[in-house]
């Protein structure tokens, strides 16, 4: 269950978790249809980047690229400047807790690209 197609399918399933299909089926859009449409969009996004120059595996790890750990440290610096000292310190602590070597680098790179992309948690009154 580790093939790219299966993993992308699982990612699509995660993103439509919680959608009500019973009511939707009456309107003509089935779960399978939505899943197919999501997969199409996922592959479209994946391939759009794949064929852009400078995105091949070799150039991504080239000397001109900032290592993802440094990018996380830059975010940590921004947090400090914004007055979020505790979060910045925790972030640096967690970075230090990751295993040595660059095995976690692609995941860190992904997290940096997604940083701030989620909606802020709802404020309670």
């Amino acid at each position: 269950d580790n093939s790219i197609t299966e993993l992308l399918g699982a990612l699509c399933d995660c993103s439509i978790y919680g959608v009500s299909w019973k009511r939707r089926a009456l309107g003509g859009l089935s779960k399978e249809g939505a899943r197919k449409a999501l997969k199409k969009r996922a592959y479209g996004a994946l391939l759009s980047k794949f064929f852009q120059p400078g995105t091949c595996k070799g150039s991504a790890s080239g000397p001109a690229t900032t290592p993802p750990r440094n990018k996380v440290l830059m975010i940590s610096f921004d947090l400090r400047v914004a007055g979020c000292r505790e979060e910045a310190e925790r972030l640096e602590e967690l970075l230090g807790a990751l295993p040595e070597g660059d095995a976690a680098d692609p995941v860190l790179e992904l997290l940096v690209h997604l940083a701030g992309s989620a909606l802020p948690p709802p404020t309670s009154f």
Binding site: C12, C14, V19, L38
Partner: protein, 73 residues
């Protein structure tokens, strides 16, 4: 042999916990399940930047599905 496998499992779990907390601090919106799928996709050599586009695209699509879900309520 079994204890070696257990130690390895614990190390993987700890790394996942650390990555999940980093993910939360960075406000990426990934839950544990999505994160573990992303980790495996990265292990398969998927470009992280391309994967981030995939996730953003899937979010847009599911948001519009959920929004239309709410409007019919």
């Amino acid at each position: 042999m079994a204890s070696g496998a257990n130690a390895n499992m614990n190390a993987v779990r700890e790394t996942m916990d650390v990555l999940l907390e980093i993910s939360r601090l960075l406000n990426t919106g990934l839950d544990m399940e999505s994160l573990s799928i992303c980790v495996r996709l990265c292990e398969q050599g998927i470009n992280p930047e391309a994967l981030s586009l995939v996730i953003k695209e899937l979010r847009k699509a599911s948001d519009s599905l959920k929004a239309s879900d709410n409007s019919t309520n």
